[in-house]
Symmetry: C2
Subunit: 143 residues, 2 copies
């Protein structure tokens, strides 16, 4: 379900600022911070306030239209998320983030940990880091 629909459904308005933030996220291949989204809006000559970026991100997060992706050192940025359960794989070189589905690969692990710790496991955060195909090629050229 797209933004327009979610907004109507929630009785909220389909505004310019919200469209701009959404479109920037749609065009992006790497996780973006509020600041960098704001920067890109300026470059696109789409004047929106930084405050609206924060507010829209909060909204999109509630709608599960975006997800936080954590960097290795830095903190997190936001990327568009397709519906359903999945995780992200991030390139350490170009920062590109792609989705992957977890399948039930974790169920074994989860059960084991639940037994061992007595915790009732409710959710998980999984991210992979590595080198994307393009950046692997880049490396070869330097050899």
């Amino acid at each position: 379900m797209n933004l327009q629909k979610k907004l109507n459904q929630a009785g909220l308005r389909h505004t310019h600022a919200r469209q701009v933030v959404m479109s920037i996220l749609e065009e992006a291949t790497i996780p973006l911070s509020p600041q960098s989204i704001y920067q890109r809006s300026l470059e696109k000559n789409e004047d929106i306030g930084l405050v609206s970026v924060y507010r829209t991100l909060e909204l999109l997060d509630e709608f599960s239209l975006i997800r936080r992706v954590h960097g290795r050192e830095d903190c997190h940025g936001y990327v568009l998320a397709s519906p359903g359960h999945h995780h992200h794989l991030v390139c350490r070189e170009c920062e590109k983030a792609v989705e992957f589905t977890g399948g039930d690969d974790l169920s074994g692990l989860l059960n084991r940990i639940q037994q061992e710790t007595g915790f009732e496991v409710e959710g998980h955060l999984l991210q992979l880091f590595g080198l994307c195909p393009e950046c692997q090629k880049g490396k070869e050229n330097h050899a």
Copy 2:
């Protein structure tokens, strides 16, 4: 290997500020932000500067003596980390964080993703969320 040793080995000094930050992390059961570490140092009447907290955390991180743990909404905090590869399980109620070892439960998943995406996977971030044994009991009482 403990802090004292790591410091000597690196030709750095075993100072008061560093000891205080380390001891606060050793006493903690939940991930702590720089600010909260600073607060606790005040409560312990161990006057250290906030700047030293930041600097020490950076150092401890380089030494792999601590690790960042990400919250569900909030950002991350730091917890003591035992040597070797492992992950954290965090209680959604009391925020307590406990370690668990990943084993090779992920190797299947990692291989599959590597095949599917062409990425060369180098590392991962895995965290579990749930309810700790104590907080499960607390819930029952309310039933």
